[in-house]
Amino acid sequence: MLAKRIIPCLDIKDGRTVKGVNFVDLKDAGDPVELGKKYCDEGADELVFLDITATHEKRKTLAALAKNIAQHLNIPFTIGGGISSVNDASYLLEAGADKISINSAPVKNPNLINQLADTFGNQFVVVAIDAKQINGEWFVYLNGGRLPTDIPLLQWAKEAENRGAGEILFTSMDHDGTKNGFACQALAEMSDLVGIPIIASGGAGNIDHFSEVFTVGKADAGLAASIFHFNEVNIPELKQALKSSGISVRY
């Protein structure tokens, strides 16, 4: 049976992990590869690396990072952060990335999704969507959630699928950082609407939240950052609990 996926997300700046990760058992918790390998060994199903560096050396550092990760990890990984062209993406594919995540660029230039899917296949293209609820309606936000748009969430998710996205990574800005659970209702609506896997992000605080996002939220994968980094949720325990409640997970 196809397993629900658990995906730790690592934010990267200048080749180092950020968010004050603190692990006693790692020599260098700032090293994305060492931290990624730890999650890999604990049973993470995939990893997402989001680069938040804002320099023009970016393309080179991102490709170097992807190459380093690909050499050391034996599970799939997605890399994202400022990718805005087929050329950017081809560097990352060459370097060994399994998927790329694009966020603001395709909203400004939707055809980018078609181009990427035609060149590299749907499976390579993850469209990340940040959204926020305004008076009961969900709208897409850009530039790391700083720039509002008038694009409805579900409309954009459907368009992304139609243009060739292989997966959608939906982050609810209303839930992100609250640790009160995922945006299960919006996720379930999205899941009913599109025929591609949905990665849920934003709001994970405990094991029950993952269980909820896979059942009520109908998500295919649950993504989180700080709760894994600070060991508030331990991946082996999380998987054991999901398995006990009858959710298919890889162990």
Partner: protein
């Protein structure tokens, strides 16, 4: 232990993952489309991410189709590599190498299942030395929209929409629909079982 492992180079993406996986196991793969190197290798890996028709055309142009068919050492096809070892693919109605006499069909969702089939799924009815040391129902990582049907050559089955061949074997040709190079310790065990096949 030192054996020559050729990884067939063609116009497919993410071939480096296979080389990295070999490296983690302590082997060095040679990425090549040179017929002599391929023929003289102890093991040949035929990886693949891409589209069937353009890849078959590329193999024919390079004369690699005949080279692959006539290999006598252990060969491991991966993902598209496995599909191309089969008889025919529905992907752009493509005649493949015909080494494994199975059909490759497109997934048609029955109950709104997602296509492509992406993620970790279980390997059922495993019966081959490739799976030595692995428990039944081990998980492997899949990414594909087309699948090979079941047949006498099936050595592992996975269920997604339909039961299909997760791995096949005929004579010296082994192949997996999933990506062993991305399937964690399970995949590494499968690769190392393949590399341990006596010549």
């Amino acid at each position: 232990m030192s054996q020559k492992i050729a990884v067939i180079q063609y116009n497919a993406g993410n071939i480096h993952s296979v080389l990295s996986a070999l490296h983690r196991l302590g082997f060095k793969g040679i990425l090549t489309d040179n017929p002599e190197i391929i023929q003289s290798s102890d093991k040949v890996i035929f990886p693949g991410v891409g589209e069937a028709r353009s890849t078959m055309n590329h193999l024919r142009e390079k004369g690699l189709d005949e080279i692959i068919k006539n290999l006598t050492q252990p060969v491991l096809g991966i993902c598209l590599g496995m599909q191309l070892l089969c008889k025919h693919s529905e992907e752009k109605d493509t005649d493949c190498l015909g080494i494994i006499p199975l059909e490759v069909k497109k997934f048609i969702p029955q109950q709104r299942e997602n296509v492509p089939h992406v993620g970790w799924n279980t390997l059922l009815n495993t019966q081959n030395l490739l799976f030595d040391g692995l428990p039944e129902n081990s998980f492997a990582y899949f990414v594909h929209s087309y699948y090979a049907t079941l047949g006498p050559e099936t050595i592992a089955q996975t269920d997604y929409i339909f039961p299909f061949s997760a791995a096949v074997q005929k004579d010296n040709f082994y192949a997996t629909q999933f990506h062993p190079e991305k399937s964690g310790w399970v995949g590494e065990k499968i690769l190392s079982n393949f590399l341990n096949i006596a010549p």
